[in-house]
Symmetry: D2
Subunit: 322 residues, 4 copies
């Protein structure tokens, strides 16, 4: 992790100890596929509808077309939908272990230009329904990049010892968080996913602009039959690469190699490491919230704090009458 | 900007030339205030409602309490709302030119603990309605950190010369983008804000986990009475600091100083620089989309591309029958 | 309730019995205020910002202006915000016990026209940020019309006897529903609020087009210290009237009168009845889901079903091998 | 239309005259399919993932199972996704010309119970990801019930004569409305769709609780090459029936018959009539907003207004100093 925030590393480390106490996290990639959604504009809805039918019948043609421009990726799926006189083309690519966005953009350019020619579109925008680098509802439902789940069972005793909390308290705080998230209208139902992802992305040469899109999904806590805590994170849209981009450069390659996440065939593993990391961080931070240790920990471990001299104490210096 | 993406710097540079051609961007901070939303849980809704009344009457008391813990920030506003038996406390702080999150968390801890004691809450979560580091609807409506607007008028001739596009084409593409964003259910109605913010944040020692929260808001293009382009970006939630955090460290301080954004009294200026940067990037990228130069530019300028040897050409190598 | 769906009345009746078993529901109006959000468009953001300052200083002036056009309502609050070169004016009115939308529209017309004249807006749209009759994030955060909460404690024994369920099962199903609602990106975190509201609105001469806006908010279930169920609904935006509109006509007036909800001074009471009704319906339906009686009940009680002759049985007619 | 709002009928009538002036509206159903999303909860994510594979391989089995319970509907598609340890089953049914919700619920009960038995789920909720009767992001992306588009070209002269507006003004107001809707976080990007749908639903025996779900989608205005207005509405989720439910009863059947929308084979036609109606209403209301006739029209045509005696005048009774 690359960060200037001292408490962050401590928080994730503690979360990993919690995971370890339960035998480790289990993480799996559920779905793979980089989407691009070019938009074409037609004379009217009927023309868009005809183009939609053409698009849906063009998978094979476009697979061949895409094969002329890349050896690394492939077009896997074509869907299309009409909104008034506009057509949204939904292209799904496999991109191997690269994030693959440049390849996919190039392929989307070829494919959408081909459709434009054949259907006489009035305008064409290669990134028209632009899902890139933004939290969005489509990614929650369809996934983007790699969709990943990580879960673990944390023994009650470990929660008590390492984090001074209980499964019941963690279930209760998440219950309240969900009420808050519902009111906030967010697609990031995780707690500090953005922190962990940004720190690992920076260390590992990933594109930091994806943090907002990647840090969406859901956290879950439940009390299991034996009184321990079941915890999971669902990350529908992890856009990361173990080849290409910044992944092969300098310390980034070193960091990836250290985790066994460098190069071909390591994309799933890297996504799984990230999901387990997010789980660790959210566990630890929620525990700190339940035990009211969050602010104190920042005082002790935070940046900009000369040892032993917090700017302010947690307890007020003078009493206030109730 | 710190980035491994070659096309990015070129894109923002071109956008800045476009802004310059129109006399530069005008940026202004509209609102300041770091919010924290502790949540308290009560026996029932009636108890939450009573606590809500107590909270609303506690501004002065809490201002004094906050003053005991920080010299840099101040509590400016207290609001509270009831959701069932939960109370969401909405605290707004001024934090000077630091991002101020640690100060605000400490103050929120004191304030919410005081309310807990006085109103006998069953549970209290200092970050309960957790707005931190996530795109959310509340920030769109209320702002968070600094809300900033940047606008500019770009002469038609400059658009033609520098970007091979027209005001009409830019208005039309934004029209289509909005249809797409509406379907996507996103709070980021900008185009590549996340790119520019991440690159400047990294160069200037800002917390990268805020990229997803900061890169929300709206882009606007309009044709003005003289046939030129009016363009603006609205960024409701810029969370940045010119003191504290990573801002004073090494090259970050150098980068901030270079832009006149280092230290006390420079927070607004830094936010305005960021807003103008976002405007430049979105102008340039939308222009590239309208002129169909986006993919080609990535080929020429992108990372991982040995000069003159693109992995694939934009034109397919063999003709396809229509 | 006016409905052609037989199971609906049975469901709400059962829910009311559950509420009764716990001593009845407690409902309260938390906030009142009908909002209107005219939008004005300016030359640029600086002009919009100046108009924003003018608007914020105009409360008294506009209160007098509104007083010239209505005796029933009053302007209570003026807020304004800038998005690029647009100004969103946030006007909050009290409207007594009428829904008051026509009064508020008339007042918003006067107020926004006055601001237009004084600030030389290029365009003005009286309903510009049009919150009317749509589920939206602003209403979740700020409320609209009447914000209402209803809660109750249901004894464990009553749940077992009347609905063959337990507090634990209800807490668990809501937990899963929240995961689903989060993925759905909805502002309606209730279960069948739309059913109950539509049926009462129809019976009581309310405007049915408001059902989608009114049926938003949150449901909450919790296990209390004695092992009973605490349940609440939060309805931030109830737009109803006990005077004006269709409320005084024929059977609508009779229905309102029957509930003590007809005429001046009865608006809060009507909102509270609605909130309690929503609570009853959501309790009953969630119970039916946990006991797997939902589909069977529709078979027995549903419309279009000749007595004793369901179209299909719940159990498949032939066995399938596992 | 059944409504107590006088201005409403006038508004839709005027809109229809506008459509007529351009040769009428063209409406088409783009997609059909009633979805149900049962949720099953497993021991952990691995078990949910295994069940997901089982579900995806069960289409034929479940088609047979559904065929045992209904003659009117059929299971067309099975998809499934994992969120942590939960499985969301996405079942899509054709339901002929009935809304089909009871049939689909019954079928979803059978199918999800079958999966529960085969995969040893810990819990099962037949409506678990409960899309019913709420505005939601899934319906925007996938459609529900019938997805319908209606479009028309309105001559400039007709807009001038019938509505005192221009294509340019309508494009401009929609541009501002979109900025407002973006900030509001709504899925209803139409203007008064809820009004028209509620009035027709009431007249035609439809389930009024669906108004909020049906009144979502997008409105589009554009200036065409000849200077006329292109207008369209996109309604992704129309849940209506021309058989079953309240459609066959009394005046509802008469109203449906009047429009040629009663009985088997008329579902698409009814959806198309509704889409054209929504287009008419949004055209007319937006025109009224641009010509500032909205409030005046309500005064003249509204309910509760003794002829010639508006409660307040639009112009203030006394002058205010600027």
């Amino acid at each position: 992790m690359a960060t200037t925030e001292g408490a962050l590393v401590a928080s994730y480390s503690r979360g990993m100890k919690l995971l370890e106490a339960g035998g480790g996290a289990r993480a799996r990639v559920l779905r793979r596929g980089l989407t691009q959604n070019p938009m074409l504009v037609y004379r009217d809805a009927a023309a868009a509808e005809r183009a939609c039918a053409t698009a849906r019948a063009s998978l094979e043609r476009w697979q061949k077309l895409v094969a002329t421009t890349t050896r690394h990726g492939a077009l896997r799926r074509v869907e299309a939908s009409v909104i008034g006189r506009r057509l949204v083309l939904q292209l799904t690519f496999t991109t191997g272990d690269a994030i693959g966005i440049n390849m996919a953009a190039r392929a989307a350019e070829l494919v959408s230009a081909d459709l434009e020619r054949r259907t006489k579109a009035e305008a064409r925008f290669v990134h028209g329904e632009d899902v890139e680098k933004r939290a969005n509802a489509r990614a929650q439902l369809e996934g983007r990049g790699r969709s990943c789940v990580a879960d673990a069972t944390i023994p009650r005793a470990a929660l008590a010892k390492l984090a001074r909390t209980t499964p019941e308290k963690l279930v209760a705080i998440l219950d309240s968080y969900r009420v808050g998230f519902a009111e906030l209208g967010t697609q990031n139902w995780l707690v500090q996913a953005a922190n962990g992802l940004a720190a690992v992305f920076l260390a590992c040469g990933q594109d930091l602009a994806y943090v907002g899109e990647c840090a969406t999904g859901q956290l879950d806590f439940a009390l299991d039959a034996r009184g321990d805590l079941y915890a999971s994170v669902h990350l529908p849209a992890l856009l990361v690469g173990t080849v290409g981009g910044g992944s092969g450069q300098g310390t980034a390659a070193e960091c990836l190699a250290l985790m066994g996440c460098l190069g071909e065939g390591r994309g799933d593993h890297f996504a799984e490491v990230l999901a387990a990391t997010v789980l660790a961080g959210d566990l630890s931070l929620m525990a700190a919230f339940t035990s009211h240790e969050f602010v104190g920990a920042h005082e002790r471990l935070g940046r900009n704090r000369p040892a032993g001299r917090p700017e302010g104490e947690i307890r007020p210096r003078r009493k206030l009458r109730p």
